[in-house]
Amino acid sequence: MGSTPARLLRLLGCGVLLLAATEGLVRLLGVAPPKPKIYADSVYLPDPHLPYRQQPGISRSEPSRTGEFVESFTHNSAGFRDVEHALVKLPGTFRVLALGGSVTYGSGVSFEQTYLAQLEKDLNGRGALPPVEIVKAGVGGFFPAAERLLLENYGLAYQPDLVLLQIDDSDAFESFLGVEAARVTPGLLKTADMRALGLPLGYLAVNTHIGRILYHRWSRSHLAHLKAEFSRQEPQVWEGIERELARMKQLAVGAGLVVLYIPVERQVDGLFPLEAICQRLGIPFADATPFLRDSAREGPVAWERDGHPNARGHAAVARAVETFLLARGLIR
Protein backbone atom coordinates (compact mmCIF):
# COMPACT_ATOMS: atom_id res chain seq x y z
CA MET A 1 0.00 0.00 0.00
CA GLY A 2 1.40 3.45 -0.93
CA SER A 3 0.96 6.81 0.75
CA THR A 4 -2.37 8.68 0.48
CA PRO A 5 -1.22 11.09 -2.31
CA ALA A 6 0.10 8.16 -4.32
CA ARG A 7 -3.20 6.32 -3.93
CA LEU A 8 -5.14 9.42 -4.98
CA LEU A 9 -2.90 9.79 -8.03
CA ARG A 10 -3.48 6.17 -8.94
CA LEU A 11 -7.22 6.61 -8.54
CA LEU A 12 -7.17 9.71 -10.74
CA GLY A 13 -5.15 7.85 -13.37
CA CYS A 14 -7.66 5.03 -13.30
CA GLY A 15 -10.52 7.55 -13.67
CA VAL A 16 -8.89 9.18 -16.71
CA LEU A 17 -8.15 5.79 -18.28
CA LEU A 18 -11.71 4.69 -17.61
CA LEU A 19 -13.09 7.82 -19.30
CA ALA A 20 -10.78 7.36 -22.28
CA ALA A 21 -11.78 3.71 -22.61
CA THR A 22 -15.49 4.59 -22.34
CA GLU A 23 -15.04 7.29 -25.00
CA GLY A 24 -13.36 4.71 -27.24
CA LEU A 25 -16.15 2.19 -26.71
CA VAL A 26 -18.88 4.77 -27.34
CA ARG A 27 -17.10 5.82 -30.54
CA LEU A 28 -16.92 2.21 -31.65
CA LEU A 29 -20.64 1.80 -31.02
CA GLY A 30 -21.39 5.02 -32.96
CA VAL A 31 -24.37 6.03 -30.81
CA ALA A 32 -23.47 9.68 -30.19
CA PRO A 33 -25.17 12.49 -32.14
CA PRO A 34 -23.06 13.82 -35.01
CA LYS A 35 -20.83 16.80 -34.44
CA PRO A 36 -22.95 19.95 -34.82
CA LYS A 37 -22.66 21.07 -38.41
CA ILE A 38 -21.54 24.53 -37.47
CA TYR A 39 -18.45 23.00 -35.86
CA ALA A 40 -17.92 20.28 -38.46
CA ASP A 41 -18.21 22.08 -41.76
CA SER A 42 -20.04 25.31 -41.36
CA VAL A 43 -21.51 27.53 -44.02
CA TYR A 44 -22.25 30.12 -41.31
CA LEU A 45 -19.59 32.68 -40.54
CA PRO A 46 -19.30 35.50 -38.00
CA ASP A 47 -20.45 38.88 -39.25
CA PRO A 48 -20.01 42.35 -37.72
CA HIS A 49 -23.69 43.27 -38.17
CA LEU A 50 -25.65 40.03 -38.35
CA PRO A 51 -25.92 37.04 -36.00
CA TYR A 52 -24.06 35.24 -38.80
CA ARG A 53 -23.71 35.28 -42.55
CA GLN A 54 -23.63 32.52 -45.14
CA GLN A 55 -20.31 31.62 -46.68
CA PRO A 56 -20.02 33.31 -50.09
CA GLY A 57 -18.99 31.61 -53.32
CA ILE A 58 -19.47 27.99 -52.29
CA SER A 59 -21.20 25.15 -54.06
CA ARG A 60 -22.13 21.97 -52.20
CA SER A 61 -24.28 18.90 -52.31
CA GLU A 62 -24.95 17.00 -49.10
CA PRO A 63 -27.64 14.79 -47.54
CA SER A 64 -30.24 16.68 -45.51
CA ARG A 65 -30.46 16.38 -41.73
CA THR A 66 -33.22 13.77 -41.91
CA GLY A 67 -31.83 12.04 -44.99
CA GLU A 68 -35.06 12.73 -46.92
CA PHE A 69 -33.38 14.71 -49.71
CA VAL A 70 -30.04 15.98 -50.93
CA GLU A 71 -29.28 19.65 -50.36
CA SER A 72 -27.49 21.15 -53.35
CA PHE A 73 -26.72 24.81 -53.13
CA THR A 74 -24.52 27.51 -54.57
CA HIS A 75 -23.97 30.84 -52.87
CA ASN A 76 -23.20 34.04 -54.74
CA SER A 77 -20.51 36.51 -53.70
CA ALA A 78 -22.85 38.02 -51.08
CA GLY A 79 -23.45 34.57 -49.50
CA PHE A 80 -27.03 34.32 -50.81
CA ARG A 81 -28.35 31.24 -52.59
CA ASP A 82 -28.85 33.24 -55.74
CA VAL A 83 -27.28 34.44 -58.97
CA GLU A 84 -25.05 37.53 -58.81
CA HIS A 85 -26.73 40.92 -58.48
CA ALA A 86 -25.01 44.25 -59.06
CA LEU A 87 -25.84 46.68 -56.27
CA VAL A 88 -27.00 49.25 -58.80
CA LYS A 89 -30.06 47.94 -60.60
CA LEU A 90 -30.64 48.29 -64.30
CA PRO A 91 -32.92 51.22 -65.22
CA GLY A 92 -36.55 50.15 -65.63
CA THR A 93 -36.07 46.98 -63.59
CA PHE A 94 -38.38 46.34 -60.66
CA ARG A 95 -36.27 44.89 -57.90
CA VAL A 96 -37.65 42.82 -55.03
CA LEU A 97 -35.54 42.11 -51.97
CA ALA A 98 -36.78 38.87 -50.40
CA LEU A 99 -35.90 38.27 -46.76
CA GLY A 100 -36.68 35.20 -44.71
CA GLY A 101 -35.35 32.06 -43.07
CA SER A 102 -34.68 28.58 -44.40
CA VAL A 103 -37.96 28.42 -46.34
CA THR A 104 -36.94 31.47 -48.36
CA TYR A 105 -33.41 30.07 -48.64
CA GLY A 106 -35.09 27.01 -50.19
CA SER A 107 -34.05 24.18 -47.87
CA GLY A 108 -35.61 21.05 -49.33
CA VAL A 109 -35.75 22.07 -52.99
CA SER A 110 -33.42 22.93 -55.85
CA PHE A 111 -32.72 26.59 -56.57
CA GLU A 112 -35.00 26.53 -59.63
CA GLN A 113 -37.82 25.07 -57.50
CA THR A 114 -37.67 27.75 -54.80
CA TYR A 115 -40.78 29.90 -54.65
CA LEU A 116 -38.69 32.99 -55.39
CA ALA A 117 -37.04 31.55 -58.53
CA GLN A 118 -40.46 30.40 -59.79
CA LEU A 119 -42.06 33.73 -58.92
CA GLU A 120 -39.34 35.64 -60.78
CA LYS A 121 -39.74 33.41 -63.84
CA ASP A 122 -43.54 33.65 -63.81
CA LEU A 123 -43.61 37.43 -63.36
CA ASN A 124 -41.11 37.92 -66.18
CA GLY A 125 -43.19 35.68 -68.42
CA ARG A 126 -46.20 37.98 -68.16
CA GLY A 127 -44.95 40.59 -70.59
CA ALA A 128 -47.07 43.51 -69.39
CA LEU A 129 -44.86 44.10 -66.36
CA PRO A 130 -41.40 45.67 -66.14
CA PRO A 131 -38.51 43.20 -65.87
CA VAL A 132 -38.58 41.84 -62.31
CA GLU A 133 -35.41 40.93 -60.47
CA ILE A 134 -35.59 39.20 -57.10
CA VAL A 135 -32.65 39.37 -54.70
CA LYS A 136 -33.10 36.11 -52.82
CA ALA A 137 -31.64 36.93 -49.43
CA GLY A 138 -33.06 34.08 -47.33
CA VAL A 139 -30.73 32.92 -44.56
CA GLY A 140 -31.36 29.64 -42.73
CA GLY A 141 -32.40 30.25 -39.12
CA PHE A 142 -33.06 33.97 -39.52
CA PHE A 143 -36.04 35.68 -37.84
CA PRO A 144 -37.40 39.26 -37.95
CA ALA A 145 -34.70 40.92 -35.80
CA ALA A 146 -31.93 39.31 -37.88
CA GLU A 147 -33.75 40.14 -41.10
CA ARG A 148 -34.08 43.78 -40.01
CA LEU A 149 -30.30 43.87 -39.44
CA LEU A 150 -29.76 42.35 -42.88
CA LEU A 151 -32.06 44.93 -44.48
CA GLU A 152 -30.42 47.79 -42.61
CA ASN A 153 -26.79 46.83 -43.19
CA TYR A 154 -26.81 45.09 -46.58
CA GLY A 155 -30.28 44.90 -48.13
CA LEU A 156 -31.00 48.58 -48.72
CA ALA A 157 -27.83 48.86 -50.82
CA TYR A 158 -29.65 46.82 -53.49
CA GLN A 159 -32.12 49.72 -53.97
CA PRO A 160 -35.20 47.49 -53.69
CA ASP A 161 -38.57 48.67 -55.00
CA LEU A 162 -40.29 46.12 -52.77
CA VAL A 163 -39.18 44.25 -49.66
CA LEU A 164 -40.82 40.85 -49.23
CA LEU A 165 -40.45 39.50 -45.71
CA GLN A 166 -41.29 35.81 -45.23
CA ILE A 167 -42.39 34.70 -41.80
CA ASP A 168 -43.24 31.20 -40.65
CA ASP A 169 -44.19 29.46 -37.43
CA SER A 170 -40.62 29.13 -36.18
CA ASP A 171 -40.04 32.89 -36.12
CA ALA A 172 -41.75 33.58 -32.80
CA PHE A 173 -39.64 31.08 -30.84
CA GLU A 174 -36.47 32.18 -32.60
CA SER A 175 -37.35 35.79 -31.76
CA PHE A 176 -37.81 34.76 -28.12
CA LEU A 177 -34.29 33.28 -28.12
CA GLY A 178 -33.00 36.44 -29.75
CA VAL A 179 -30.04 37.66 -31.79
CA GLU A 180 -27.38 36.86 -29.19
CA ALA A 181 -28.52 33.22 -28.93
CA ALA A 182 -28.03 32.87 -32.67
CA ARG A 183 -24.72 34.73 -32.90
CA VAL A 184 -21.80 32.84 -34.40
CA THR A 185 -18.40 33.93 -33.12
CA PRO A 186 -14.87 33.01 -34.21
CA GLY A 187 -12.78 30.58 -32.17
CA LEU A 188 -13.44 27.25 -30.51
CA LEU A 189 -16.84 28.14 -29.08
CA LYS A 190 -18.79 29.43 -32.05
CA THR A 191 -22.33 29.14 -30.70
CA ALA A 192 -24.12 30.67 -27.72
CA ASP A 193 -24.87 27.32 -26.08
CA MET A 194 -21.18 26.36 -26.08
CA ARG A 195 -20.09 29.84 -25.03
CA ALA A 196 -22.40 29.47 -22.02
CA LEU A 197 -20.62 26.26 -21.07
CA GLY A 198 -17.20 27.89 -21.48
CA LEU A 199 -13.85 26.14 -21.87
CA PRO A 200 -13.10 23.28 -21.55
CA LEU A 201 -16.69 21.98 -21.15
CA GLY A 202 -17.96 23.60 -24.36
CA TYR A 203 -15.07 22.11 -26.30
CA LEU A 204 -15.66 18.66 -24.81
CA ALA A 205 -19.42 18.88 -25.48
CA VAL A 206 -18.69 19.35 -29.18
CA ASN A 207 -15.64 17.19 -29.72
CA THR A 208 -16.12 14.10 -27.55
CA HIS A 209 -18.82 11.50 -28.03
CA ILE A 210 -19.48 11.32 -24.28
CA GLY A 211 -19.82 15.11 -24.21
CA ARG A 212 -22.21 15.12 -27.16
CA ILE A 213 -24.46 12.48 -25.61
CA LEU A 214 -24.59 14.24 -22.26
CA TYR A 215 -25.07 17.71 -23.76
CA HIS A 216 -27.72 16.46 -26.14
CA ARG A 217 -29.64 14.85 -23.33
CA TRP A 218 -29.47 18.00 -21.25
CA SER A 219 -30.41 20.27 -24.15
CA ARG A 220 -33.57 18.26 -24.86
CA SER A 221 -34.85 18.87 -21.36
CA HIS A 222 -33.60 22.46 -21.46
CA LEU A 223 -35.59 23.01 -24.65
CA ALA A 224 -38.78 21.93 -22.87
CA HIS A 225 -38.00 24.53 -20.20
CA LEU A 226 -37.38 27.20 -22.85
CA LYS A 227 -40.64 26.35 -24.65
CA ALA A 228 -42.55 26.71 -21.37
CA GLU A 229 -40.89 30.07 -20.75
CA PHE A 230 -41.71 31.11 -24.33
CA SER A 231 -45.40 30.27 -23.80
CA ARG A 232 -45.44 32.57 -20.79
CA GLN A 233 -43.72 35.40 -22.66
CA GLU A 234 -45.33 34.97 -26.09
CA PRO A 235 -47.34 38.25 -25.97
CA GLN A 236 -44.13 40.21 -25.28
CA VAL A 237 -42.33 38.29 -28.03
CA TRP A 238 -44.99 39.42 -30.52
CA GLU A 239 -44.64 43.00 -29.28
CA GLY A 240 -40.93 42.71 -30.11
CA ILE A 241 -41.74 41.34 -33.57
CA GLU A 242 -44.17 44.23 -34.10
CA ARG A 243 -41.38 46.70 -33.25
CA GLU A 244 -39.07 45.00 -35.75
CA LEU A 245 -41.72 45.14 -38.49
CA ALA A 246 -42.38 48.82 -37.75
CA ARG A 247 -38.64 49.51 -37.99
CA MET A 248 -38.43 47.60 -41.28
CA LYS A 249 -41.32 49.57 -42.69
CA GLN A 250 -39.46 52.78 -41.80
CA LEU A 251 -36.23 51.48 -43.33
CA ALA A 252 -37.97 50.37 -46.51
CA VAL A 253 -39.47 53.82 -47.02
CA GLY A 254 -39.66 54.44 -50.73
CA ALA A 255 -40.01 50.72 -51.30
CA GLY A 256 -43.06 48.78 -50.20
CA LEU A 257 -42.93 46.17 -47.47
CA VAL A 258 -45.02 43.02 -47.78
CA VAL A 259 -45.19 40.28 -45.16
CA LEU A 260 -45.62 36.75 -46.48
CA TYR A 261 -46.80 34.08 -44.06
CA ILE A 262 -45.94 30.47 -44.88
CA PRO A 263 -47.29 27.85 -42.47
CA VAL A 264 -44.59 25.26 -41.85
CA GLU A 265 -45.08 23.48 -38.57
CA ARG A 266 -48.75 23.87 -37.82
CA GLN A 267 -50.09 23.42 -41.36
CA VAL A 268 -53.19 25.32 -40.32
CA ASP A 269 -54.42 28.88 -40.49
CA GLY A 270 -52.22 31.61 -39.16
CA LEU A 271 -53.40 31.42 -35.60
CA PHE A 272 -50.90 33.85 -34.26
CA PRO A 273 -51.27 37.62 -34.21
CA LEU A 274 -49.19 38.33 -37.32
CA GLU A 275 -52.09 39.41 -39.51
CA ALA A 276 -53.40 41.81 -36.84
CA ILE A 277 -49.91 43.28 -36.39
CA CYS A 278 -49.62 43.90 -40.14
CA GLN A 279 -53.06 45.52 -40.16
CA ARG A 280 -52.06 47.86 -37.32
CA LEU A 281 -48.84 48.81 -39.10
CA GLY A 282 -50.47 49.13 -42.54
CA ILE A 283 -48.25 46.41 -44.03
CA PRO A 284 -49.81 44.25 -46.78
CA PHE A 285 -50.13 40.68 -45.47
CA ALA A 286 -49.98 37.75 -47.90
CA ASP A 287 -51.04 34.39 -46.50
CA ALA A 288 -49.89 31.34 -48.45
CA THR A 289 -52.06 28.99 -46.37
CA PRO A 290 -55.07 28.68 -48.77
CA PHE A 291 -52.78 27.95 -51.73
CA LEU A 292 -50.86 25.34 -49.74
CA ARG A 293 -54.09 23.75 -48.56
CA ASP A 294 -55.35 23.51 -52.16
CA SER A 295 -52.10 21.91 -53.28
CA ALA A 296 -52.12 19.51 -50.33
CA ARG A 297 -55.15 17.82 -51.91
CA GLU A 298 -52.86 16.58 -54.70
CA GLY A 299 -50.16 15.33 -52.33
CA PRO A 300 -47.80 16.40 -49.54
CA VAL A 301 -46.60 20.01 -49.69
CA ALA A 302 -43.74 19.54 -47.20
CA TRP A 303 -41.13 16.96 -46.30
CA GLU A 304 -42.68 14.73 -43.69
CA ARG A 305 -39.90 14.67 -41.09
CA ASP A 306 -37.88 17.71 -42.10
CA GLY A 307 -40.92 19.99 -42.26
CA HIS A 308 -39.67 22.33 -44.99
CA PRO A 309 -41.91 22.79 -48.07
CA ASN A 310 -41.16 20.44 -50.96
CA ALA A 311 -41.36 21.34 -54.67
CA ARG A 312 -45.20 21.24 -54.61
CA GLY A 313 -45.22 23.50 -51.55
CA HIS A 314 -42.87 26.02 -53.14
CA ALA A 315 -44.95 26.07 -56.34
CA ALA A 316 -48.04 26.83 -54.24
CA VAL A 317 -46.25 29.65 -52.40
CA ALA A 318 -45.06 31.12 -55.72
CA ARG A 319 -48.69 31.19 -56.96
CA ALA A 320 -49.83 32.75 -53.66
CA VAL A 321 -47.28 35.57 -53.85
CA GLU A 322 -47.82 36.23 -57.55
CA THR A 323 -51.59 36.39 -57.10
CA PHE A 324 -51.22 38.72 -54.13
CA LEU A 325 -48.70 41.09 -55.74
CA LEU A 326 -50.70 41.37 -58.96
CA ALA A 327 -54.08 41.77 -57.22
CA ARG A 328 -52.67 44.57 -55.06
CA GLY A 329 -50.87 46.22 -58.00
CA LEU A 330 -47.62 46.12 -56.02
CA ILE A 331 -45.42 45.61 -59.08
CA ARG A 332 -45.37 48.58 -61.32
Binding site: L18, L29, I210, I213
Partner: protein, 41 residues
Protein backbone atom coordinates in the same frame (compact mmCIF):
# COMPACT_ATOMS: atom_id res chain seq x y z
CA UNK B 1 4.23 -11.95 -12.50
CA UNK B 2 1.52 -12.60 -9.99
CA UNK B 3 -1.78 -11.10 -11.29
CA UNK B 4 -3.83 -12.18 -8.33
CA UNK B 5 -3.58 -8.92 -6.33
CA UNK B 6 -4.67 -6.95 -9.46
CA UNK B 7 -7.63 -9.13 -10.34
CA UNK B 8 -10.14 -7.30 -8.17
CA UNK B 9 -9.27 -3.73 -9.25
CA UNK B 10 -9.18 -4.80 -12.91
CA UNK B 11 -12.60 -6.40 -12.60
CA UNK B 12 -13.94 -3.26 -10.90
CA UNK B 13 -12.57 -1.05 -13.69
CA UNK B 14 -14.02 -3.33 -16.38
CA UNK B 15 -17.39 -3.37 -14.63
CA UNK B 16 -17.33 0.43 -14.42
CA UNK B 17 -16.42 0.64 -18.10
CA UNK B 18 -19.32 -1.56 -19.12
CA UNK B 19 -21.71 0.29 -16.80
CA UNK B 20 -20.63 3.74 -18.05
CA UNK B 21 -20.94 2.66 -21.69
CA UNK B 22 -24.35 1.10 -21.11
CA UNK B 23 -25.52 4.29 -19.39
CA UNK B 24 -24.31 6.43 -22.30
CA UNK B 25 -25.95 4.16 -24.87
CA UNK B 26 -29.19 4.46 -22.89
CA UNK B 27 -28.84 8.25 -22.71
CA UNK B 28 -28.19 8.46 -26.46
CA UNK B 29 -31.62 7.00 -27.30
CA UNK B 30 -34.20 9.24 -28.91
CA UNK B 31 -34.08 11.69 -31.80
CA UNK B 32 -30.58 12.37 -33.01
CA UNK B 33 -31.14 15.85 -34.38
CA UNK B 34 -30.47 18.62 -31.94
CA UNK B 35 -33.51 20.51 -30.75
CA UNK B 36 -31.41 23.63 -31.24
CA UNK B 37 -31.85 23.54 -34.97
CA UNK B 38 -31.30 27.25 -35.28
CA UNK B 39 -27.76 26.87 -34.02
CA UNK B 40 -26.58 23.90 -35.97
CA UNK B 41 -28.29 24.10 -39.33
Amino acid sequence: MDWKPYRRPVLIVLALLVAATALLVWLARGPQESPFRYLIY
